[in-house]
């Protein structure tokens, strides 16, 4: 399938998700279950995307584990997003020198 179709579908869906509520939806969602569900969705999605994929992200499980541990520790202490992201890569790189 052409990559153009994939990109168009991807961009179209992403835009509609943002546009429809921003432009048309003015009422509040009443269902408490649905509101709770939407509240947890971002965390659940990111978690499912990260684990176990992060361990295969550097091409070497050893360096990826080092990067993951560093990222979790820094994130635990509320380090800014960018610092966590770059420190994960830096520590995976340094680990790669030794492994």
């Amino acid at each position: 399938m052409s990559i153009v179709i994939y990109i168009a579908v991807m961009a179209g869906v992403t835009y509609l998700i943002r546009m429809i509520p921003f432009t048309f939806f003015r009422k509040k969602i009443k269902s408490r279950f649905f509101r709770s569900f939407l509240y947890y969705i971002p965390y659940a999605v990111l978690s499912a995307m990260t684990l176990p994929a992060i361990f295969y992200s550097t091409g070497n499980i050893g360096t990826a584990v080092v990067g993951t541990v560093v990222a979790v520790i820094l994130a635990f202490f509320n380090t800014p997003l960018i610092a966590v992201a770059l420190a994960a890569a830096a520590s995976a790189f340094i680990a790669g020198i030794f492994i």
Binding site: I3, R18, P21, T23, P42, S47, T50, I54
Partner: protein, 233 residues
Amino acid sequence: MKSNFFRGVSHGIPICLGYLSVSFGFGIKAVQSGLSVAAASIISAVNLTSAGQAAGVDIIAAGGALIEMILVQLTINIRYSLMALSLSQKLDKGFTTPHRLAASYGITDEIFAVCSAQKERLTPSYMYGMIFVAFLGWVTGTTLGAAAGQLLPASVSSAMGIVLYGMFLAIIVPPSRKQKSVLIVVLAAAAVSILFRYVFTAVSGGFAVIISAVAASALGALLFPVRDEEAVE
């Protein structure tokens, strides 16, 4: 009008710098998955989202079905609906429908966070200013990562593959520390996802993410329903 735009630009500069480095990682990942530099840059320009793009590239690389692409983008990006809903409550009167159609393109986690922290009502120029610099950072970083990823030594570019995941961890770990409910949802989603990876391997990656996330969030909603003030953060 103009001053609002530049205020938006200045508030957006930290976002721009952050996006530069994260999208650099996305650019590398996209090229590693077999995409061209141009395709990676266009994806960043028309989507302006990290997790959705990363998952989208995986589906493209695997030659997945379009329905899979639609469902994955829906699941990963549905949070933007909540953010859009929340922001729509604090828009200035000047935010006419055409402005809403345009500015909604730029609702990201970080832009939402900065906009919702503003005390005054949001004007279109303010949001355009912020979206403009964020866009520059995101697309420039992607292009550089996609192009230079091939020039960098393999040891550097492979280490950069972890950048986006590092950012995801930085988003999910702090709230997991604060709220037991979020921690349980995060662990449940990871557990189901790991199960798909090693046990139910017939399910494709995109659907595995959807099923894991929906199951964990439904569990969270059943066990720990949120109060009103939490739901619109």
